[in-house]
């Protein structure tokens, strides 16, 4: 197994040509350091506590090629995924910026551009944050992403800007068998307000590997709404990390939806860097067949008067397996923390299963923290009630499943996205 593990990382690290050195020495150092760390780390197995429920061996057995350049895709490929409410849209195909599919709407004090351009033109602003919001630590996937960091999305918002329209970051997996490394950096200066939609889709139904990293820095009194949609092929592998740092009285809200991938793992780490922050962290995994969706969240209340609200839902049908691990840490001195976490899970078949682990660690004494978890099936009395009004049994079950999911979906303040997801739910339910 160890041999397999190492050869797997080797294949990810050395399967592609060295990327050319950047004129920015700090960037070369960042990548070199990540490469070194990736070499030193082993890929996780179910023996690692953090990966107990998520067996990656199907990923390790899959031969993957690095994607050197973007596949050509027709503009119509992305039509079903477009968000009319959005202003700027950055599209990446197999990790490479696709200018022809992107829309860059100029807006005063708001930079939405490929990371490669941001490095050239705003190097210092990028340097201050890139790789610093999420230090990869012992995470080999994050390290591999950083070692291969070439391009990505950069969103740099000046202070007190109210970005009227959502920014859509669309990552398209277009080549079967390709390993791609999406990267995004969002820096929201103090007092700004913005909405981001981070969106992963596939233009094919085969296996591929998306290994993403996103970093979000929320300034004082700033507000960032982050909608994350993972709707890749059901044969894909998707492992991603998002790190968020929130300054004084900053607000970060996240709705993450996981629908695709054979195996997916999303790690969201939100850290309070000063007093009075507000986190709203919601999630929905809706999976069936042999899918596995793992969501790990870590809310770090490191300063006083942090508030966090979290609702995570999993709906598993077929022989699917959902995993939720929600850690909330209240550090010493983080007084008057107010935190509530709920994990609600719905199993639609006898073969589906869910592992949920709310994890509360409190080292301050003047705090209000609540958490709870439920796992259940559709309520037989509700099903009968609907049938007694003429709905067929499967229609009744679909409606109830839809209602369970809708509580999360409706928290996305974008009507077109809500509609797309509702259509998906209905279609899924009818299969």
């Amino acid at each position: 197994m160890d041999a397999l593990k190492n050869s797997y990382l080797d294949s990810l690290l050395y399967g592609q040509k060295q990327i050319p050195a950047s004129p920015l020495s700090w960037l070369n150092e960042l990548r070199a350091e990540a490469l070194e760390r990736a070499n030193a780390l082993a890929v996780p197995t179910t023996r690692d506590e953090d990966w107990r429920f998520t067996d990656l061996s199907p990923l390790y057995r899959t031969a993957l090629r690095p994607s050197a350049r973007a596949a050509d895709i027709a503009a119509s490929t992305i039509d079903p995924w477009l968000i009319p409410e959005a202003g700027s849209r950055l599209v990446f195909v197999d990790g490479v910026f696709a200018p022809g599919l992107s829309v860059l709407e100029p807006e005063d004090g708001v930079l939405v551009l490929p990371l490669a351009s941001a490095l050239t033109r705003h190097g210092e602003r990028v340097q201050a944050q890139l790789g610093k919001v999420v230090p990869c630590g012992a995470d080999p996937f994050c390290a591999v992403n950083t070692a291969w960091l070439r391009d990505g999305a950069a969103v740099l918002i000046d202070g007190n800007r109210d970005v009227a329209r959502p920014i859509h970051l669309l990552f398209v997996s277009a080549s079967p068998g390709a390993a791609v490394y999406p990267r995004a950096l969002v820096v929201a200066a103090p007092g700004s307000r913005s909405t981001l939609v981070e969106d992963f889709i596939s233009s094919h139904q085969d296996a591929g590997f998306t290994n993403g990293v996103m970093e979000v820095s929320v300034g004082e009194n700033a507000s960032v709404r982050h909608v994350r949609l993972q709707r890749e092929s059901v044969n894909a592998f998707h492992i991603a990390t998002c790190g968020v740092r929130v300054a004084r009285n900053g607000r970060y809200s996240s709705v993450s939806i996981s629908l695709g991938a054979r195996i997916s793992r999303y790690s969201l780490n939100v850290t309070q860097v000063a007093d009075g922050t507000n986190f709203e962290i919601d999630g929905l995994a809706l999976i069936a067949g042999r899918q596995l969706a793992d969501t790990h969240t870590f809310l770090d209340h490191a300063h006083p008067q942090g508030r966090s609200r979290q609702l995570h839902k999993c709906i598993a049908g077929g022989a699917a397996h959902a995993v939720f691990n929600g850690k909330i840490l209240v550090r010493p001195g983080a007084q008057r923390t107010d935190s509530a976490q709920q994990s609600r899970n719905l199993l639609l078949s006898e073969r589906a299963h869910v592992d949920t682990k709310p994890q509360l660690e409190i080292f301050a004494d003047d705090v209000k923290c609540a958490h709870g978890a439920t796992v259940g099936q559709l309520d037989a009395e509700q099903v009968f009630y609907l049938r007694s009004r003429g709905l067929g049994e499967s229609g009744a079950r679909d409606l109830l499943t839809f209602a369970f999911a809708a509580e999360i979906v409706k928290r996305i303040a974008l009507p077109s996205v809500v509609r797309q997801l509702e259509d998906h739910l209905v279609r899924r339910a009818q299969n």
């Binding site: 309520d379 509700q382 009630y385 609907l386 049938r387 007694s388 009004r389 709905l391 839809f402």
Partner: protein, 259 residues
């Protein structure tokens, strides 16, 4: 011309969780009739209602029930509803996340479709609903809330009758629709139900109290006890039960059986 028989129960027995609750029910209901079923708690009234509607927890062990000549037990709960059977629940179920308006429209369109009639789009359905809302004095904001979620007892019962008004059943079984209603709500609900009556449909009212029968006059009053109908009388029987209780009926039945 003789009136049509809507429901014909013969020797119906049923159990739930292995316990025999219904021990032989015979009942026929003709179009245009109102039947009241009264009786002490635990006598099997609600079980009878749930068996007719097809609740999966209730197992029919014997006898048969014909609904307009077809065996009810060959039909799924949804087929019974589409065929025109309606159960007004004693405890209407809350369904968070489903708005009342979309639920009502879905139920209406499903039943209409099954009956070969036109379905209505949301705007048309809205118009159709307005009259029904007035009939039951229901605030339209009621439609935007989740089905029965956070409704008061009276609101839930009104919502049941609203569903009845929309689905236009040939046979409605109202299981303790009057319980938990204050006197004003009772009047509104009872008047609403009365207005839905026609020579072609029929009602079975399951109730503990005769006060509902002040508004909806039954042709027949049945007393149920220990899983059987032990006495059938006219409207006056309900008044007599109200003043004298059930013990004398039970005693009379025992004496009759012993003889």
């Amino acid at each position: 011309m003789p009136r049509k028989t809507l429901l014909e129960a013969r020797g119906l027995t049923a159990r739930v969780a292995g316990v025999e609750i219904l021990k032989g029910i015979d009942l026929s209901v003709l179009a245009g009739e109102v039947h009241a079923i009264m009786g002490p708690n635990g006598s099997g009234k609600s079980t009878f209602a749930k068996v007719l509607a097809g609740h999966p927890a209730y197992e029919v062990t014997g006898g048969d029930v014909l609904f307009e000549g077809n065996s009810l037990f060959d039909m799924t709960p949804e087929e019974r509803a589409r065929a025109g059977l309606f159960l007004g629940f004693q405890y209407p179920v809350e369904i968070p996340g489903v708005t009342n308006s979309s639920f009502l429209r879905l139920a209406y369109n499903t039943v209409q479709g099954a009956r070969g009639k036109d379905e209505l789009d949301p705007l048309e359905f809205d118009d159709y609903l307005q009259d029904k809302l007035k009939l039951l004095d229901i605030d339209p904001t009621f439609l935007d809330r989740s089905v029965n979620e956070g409704f008061s007892g009276g609101e839930k019962k009104r919502n049941e009758i609203l569903q009845m008004a929309i689905l236009e059943p040939t046979l409605a079984i109202l299981d303790e629709t009057d319980s938990g209603l204050d006197i004003d709500a009772l009047r509104i609900v009872a008047n609403g139900v009365s207005r839905l009556r026609s020579p072609d449909n029929a009602l079975i009212l399951i109730t503990h109290y005769q006060r509902l029968l002040n508004y909806i006059t039954p042709e027949f009053v049945h007393v149920m006890d220990q899983g059987r109908i032990i006495k059938t009388g006219s409207r006056d029987l309900a008044l007599e039960l109200e003043s004298r209780g059930y013990d004398w009926v039970t005693a009379e039945y025992r004496a009759l059986r012993a003889a």
